[in-house]
């Protein structure tokens, strides 16, 4: 039986299917752009463009286009344009598939003077470290829907452990709760003007989930036990005891007999000391900034709830989270994107992080300087230029280059583009580069050329190519 006469092939090669696929693409692409307009581009990518069903639709298009040529073999001369056009589409789709399967695309973020060879990708992974060395990395595909998995990749960490659930978008709610077996916990804030909290912070003592020291705005806040309350609360301005001096203004909380003591330190001296009461604003002496203690628990524990949420319109996507089964880290627990847990493994202390995937480049880039040029007499940006030095892995400089808009850097198969920048006013600008390796680039460029030539040929030699049987309507 001739290949083109097989019923399945005939259907797959038919123009009916082509029109169905094109109609499907039109509908799904329109939906994708509306999602991007209403929510954001990442969600549109997740729901449409990178979804399995959309890839399948493109695969079906490739098959249809290829078979449409195959069933007409051997081709007549008048069918050259038709065949070349379809070959161009196949090359383009093939190039795109190659990019998706073997390409690398990530961001390189560098502050002036900094060098790095680490690309940040958008794919989240579970990464296990033994000490400072990365032991393994487990990809966790992030889809739009909630999933329950038994991911065996955790086996090397501890037998029987698995990922129980993946939530694509979560919000995390944490609160302190009294617990007779717990440790001291404090929730407080700084207020200015009215009594509305400007910055919230949470401190704990002997609690693995809550730090005892934090840097808030331009202050350090510390929670510590007090051995000598008289000394701690001495209201006269005096030098701070050796070992406690902080370079920045500090609000130090002391725990004494279920009481919360507080003292303000600046320039190495104690300026104020008082017993802090919940709900009452206390003067700090730092301008109009007041201290407001929200909750103080001499014995408490942190409660935490990870809840699924739907992205808000126009906002960046909420983080994803994975729930790990019971393991060396204790009970089953959630790990939200960006978080890490420390646990005692077989070979000592280990870390498990749920982070964005990173790729090490075969070279490093150092940002020497970054400049924004302006249009004359205005504050409008005219151009962005990053002056960089490309370094070998041993740190030896390869050469100085400029990366600007429409002026990328090509090196060792990777291309580095000026994507964005940050200028926080610190005197050191941060340049953000989009770096990629695209193995499908040649195929795509070839596809472009072939496709345009094909359409040109088709228009010049336009005659009936002959529809597949069953397509002719009348």
């Amino acid at each position: 039986m001739k290949f083109g006469v097989l019923p399945g092939v005939r259907v797959l090669a038919s123009l009916r299917l082509a029109l169905f696929v094109m109609g499907g693409l039109v509908a799904s692409l329109a939906a994708g752009t509306l999602i991007e307009s209403r929510w954001n581009a990442d969600l549109a990518q997740m729901l449409v463009y990178r979804s399995v069903w959309f890839q399948a639709l493109l695969g079906l298009l490739f098959l249809n286009v290829a078979l449409a040529v195959v069933v007409r073999l051997p081709l007549r001369r008048s069918q050259t344009g038709f065949a070349v056009t379809h070959l161009g589409i196949m090359l383009l789709l093939g190039g795109a598939a190659l990019t998706k399967s073997h390409g690398v695309e990530g961001m390189l973020v560098l502050e002036e003077g900094e060098s790095s060879a680490t690309l940040r990708l958008s794919q989240p992974v579970l990464r296990q470290y033994q000490g400072d060395t990365m032991a393994q990395e487990i990809a966790v595909p992030r889809g739009p829907w909630r999933r329950a998995w038994a991911l065996p990749g955790l086996e090397p960490i501890a037998s029987g452990t698995r990922i129980e659930e993946v939530l694509p978008f979560v919000s995390v709610r944490e609160w302190a709760q009294a617990d007779p077996d717990g440790s001291p916990l404090l929730e407080a804030g700084l207020a200015t003007g009215g009594d509305r909290a400007m910055v919230d912070f949470r401190l704990g003592w002997g609690n693995p989930m809550v730090p005892s020291r934090q840097s808030i705005d331009r202050l350090d806040v510390v929670l510590m036990p007090v051995t000598d309350s008289v000394q701690f609360m001495d209201p006269s301005p005096r030098d701070i005891e050796l070992g406690l001096v902080s370079e920045r203004p500090t609000v130090r909380f002391g725990i004494w007999n279920s009481q919360l003591l507080c003292r303000i330190e600046a320039h190495g001296k104690v300026s104020r000391a008082f017993v802090a009461a919940a709900g009452i604003p206390h003067e700090t002496g730092f301008g109009a900034v007041k201290l407001v203690v929200g909750k103080w628990l001499p014995k408490g524990r942190m409660e935490r709830k990870v809840e699924p949420v739907w992205p808000s319109a126009g906002q960046t996507l909420p983080p994803s989270a994975v729930r790990l089964s019971k393991g060396p880290w204790g009970d089953s627990r959630w790990l939200v994107e960006g978080e890490t847990i420390h646990f005692l493994g077989e070979s000592g202390w280990e870390t498990l992080g749920y982070e964005l995937q990173r790729v090490l480049l075969p070279f490093a880039v150092r940002l020497d300087s970054f400049e924004v040029t302006k249009d004359p007499g205005t504050e409008m940006d005219a151009g962005y230029r990053s002056m960089v030095t490309v370094l070998q892995t041993d740190g030896k400089a390869v050469g100085s280059r400029v990366i600007a808009m429409n002026e990328p850097l090509h090196h060792m198969g990777f291309t580095c583009y000026q994507a964005s920048f940050l200028d926080a006013g610190t005197g050191h600008a941060t340049s953000i580069f989009s770096v990629n390796r695209d193995p499908g680039r040649t195929l795509k460029y070839l596809g472009c050329l072939v496709l345009v030539c094909g359409i040109g040929l088709f228009l010049m030699t336009r005659r009936r190519t002959g529809p597949v049987a069953g397509d002719v309507h009348a």
């Binding site: 094109m22 109609g23 752009t33 991007e36 581009a41 151009g383 429409n406 695209d438 795509k444 529809p467």
Partner: protein, 559 residues
């Protein structure tokens, strides 16, 4: 040093203190060509003043019949006195109501708006939403627009609107506004700089006194080539003359307005064809009226070509960097293609469809400057590649021209539903549509692929499903469905003309909708607001016409 101090004192005393107003009989024509630095480039004073007054007032001419240049000088010299005049455009009723103004009205005074606490809080809330990347309401957008008008008022009335004098260092960035004349490195003046500043002062005094002779003399001094061009470039003769010619060319473009002539001439061409059709439906397209239509269309093409040549010369880039320019380019392309096809097929009907479509689109570009901004502005960094801008954007937009032409011819085809016995003509029209669609698909495909190559070069990815890319693909796929359907006989003559009309909705979405309605993605430099009502009217009217024709066609087919 002493003279500079005196000068600064005189300028500052002129600004804001003059209260007599501009003498009514002063002719400001000679001032139009004075080069000023505004919005990142050097341009004629007339253009800068018109843009400023248009932004503040909504129109270039004030209700009291003050031309923009006169209004600009009045605002600069008598800003305080004008604070009670209703000069600032504000017609959005909800905003007027919210800030305590009468609900009905088109303008408000500076005093009513500048210290309006309600307006301040609305603007602050709108900015907070903007910074938080939250969707803005119409009220937010109108409040931000109004804030921009107030800022512009402040800039003009305090003499900081644009820079009139190059600084002594010579670079464009160091040009000085009037208010800055007495500051900084004027301690090291050159003879030329002294002459410039004296001319500026003389000009202001002449305005105050109503001295036409002195005004013209100082205007001529300030318009002299060596007076405004950067000193460090004066030796590079080529650059100097190029820049001076650009200013002159822009003034000519501003005064002659060739694109207005384009739509008028095309309208004349369309009327000539309609008249020819009414007088004699058998008249050959080469008859007297046909010839007239042809000549008018050619003249229109010539005027728009001159307009484009001037815009390219002034801006130094392809004329497709904003919605206004692409609208003109599409009208130009449709006229060019339509005339070519009309000549090829010897069809005055095609020429008529071309003239109607072309004149309407040229008119659209001319009629709504608040939506289709005609200003020549500096480009965002990513567009500063003339090579790719020319290749990609020109190709994509010229494909829209082909689709516009197909849509116009398609609408003529739809009308055949009301003309019994016109099946043969409908078939001919469908063939015309088909050929024009083939051209459009070829150009759009090439344009999309060129865009992919540019995106790969500039952003590092060939295709990223950006809304602009995606809608171009959707429009192309829509036309491909029509062409493939026709190829296998599913779509015939009637289906082709319907397809040419329906397919243009996809083009409108890719061209206008992504920038003005979706307003998201990497092509953010093309985003703007307004015109949604006009587009909705087009979509609805076109849809109704399509449905009526379709119903008529079905009834005729059944009988």
């Amino acid at each position: 040093m002493r003279s500079i101090r005196i000068f600064a004192f005189l300028v500052l005393s002129c600004v804001g203190v003059v209260s007599a107003g501009l003498p009514g009989n002063l002719d400001l024509a000679k001032l139009r060509g004075i080069p000023v630095l505004e919005g990142g480039r050097v341009k004629p004073l007339a253009v800068a003043a018109t843009e400023a007054i248009q932004e503040i007032h909504g129109r270039a001419v004030l209700a009291k019949r003050h031309a923009s240049l006169e209004a600009w000088f009045m605002l600069m010299l008598q800003g305080k006195e004008l604070e009670d005049s209703a000069w600032i455009s504000l017609s959005y009723r909800p905003l007027r109501k919210k800030i305590g103004l009468p609900e009905v009205g088109n303008h408000a005074s500076y005093r009513e708006l500048s210290h309006n606490i309600r307006l301040e809080s609305i603007v602050a809330a709108a900015h907070a939403r903007q910074q938080g990347k939250l969707p803005l309401s119409s009220l937010d957008r109108k409040a931000i627009e109004l804030e921009r008008r107030l800022v512009r008022w402040d800039m003009v009335s305090t003499g900081r609107e644009f820079a009139l004098l190059p600084g002594p260092s010579g670079s464009e960035g160091n040009w000085r506004s009037l208010i800055e004349l007495g500051q900084g490195d004027l301690d090291h003046p050159s003879a030329l700089l002294s002459e410039r500043t004296a001319a500026c002062l003389g000009l202001l005094q002449a305005l105050q006194r109503g001295d036409q002779g002195a005004l013209d003399m100082h205007a001529a001094t300030l318009s002299r080539e060596e007076m405004f061009l950067p000193q460090n470039l004066r030796t590079a003769r080529g650059q100097v003359s190029a820049s001076a010619q650009r200013v002159r060319a822009e003034l000519w473009l501003f005064q002659v307005h060739p694109f207005r002539w384009s739509w008028l001439l095309l309208l004349g061409s369309a009327l000539a064809i309609v008249a020819g059709q009414i007088l004699s439906s058998r008249e050959r397209w080469t008859g007297p009226l046909g010839r007239m239509a042809w000549e008018l269309a050619l003249a229109s093409l010539a005027t728009s070509a001159v307009g484009f040549a001037l815009r390219i010369f002034v801006s130094g880039r392809a004329p497709v960097t904003n919605m206004y320019e692409t609208t003109l380019w599409v009208a130009f392309g449709a006229t060019l293609f339509g005339m070519g096809f009309a000549a090829l097929w010897r069809s005055r009907i095609v020429l008529g469809a071309t003239a109607v479509a072309g004149s309407l689109v040229f008119l659209l570009a001319d009629a709504v400057p608040s939506v289709l901004d005609p200003r020549l502005q500096p480009l965002v960094p990513v567009l500063r590649s003339n090579f790719w801008l020319t290749l990609h954007v020109l190709t994509v937009t010229i494909s829209y021209a082909a689709f516009l032409l197909a849509m116009a011819i398609g609408n003529l085809g739809l009308w055949q539903a009301f003309r019994p016995g016109s099946e043969a003509f409908l078939k001919e029209i469908s063939q015309w549509c088909h050929r024009v669609l083939l051209l459009g698909v070829l150009l759009l495909t090439a344009g999309i692929l060129l865009g992919g190559v540019w995106a790969d070069y500039a952003w590092g990815r060939f295709w990223g499903w950006d809304p602009k890319e995606t809608w171009s693909l959707i429009a192309n796929l829509g036309y491909l469905v029509i062409l493939h359907g026709r190829f296998v006989g599913w779509i015939r003559a009637w289906g082709t003309v319907v397809g040419a009309v329906v397919g243009f909705y996809g083009v409108v979405m890719a061209w206008y909708g992504v920038n003005f309605i979706l307003a998201t993605g990497l092509h953010s430099y093309g985003f703007s607001q307004g015109g949604a009502l006009a587009m909705a009217v087009y979509a609805v009217v076109q849809g109704i016409y399509l449905v009526v024709c379709q119903m008529r066609h079905r009834r005729v087919a059944r009988n």
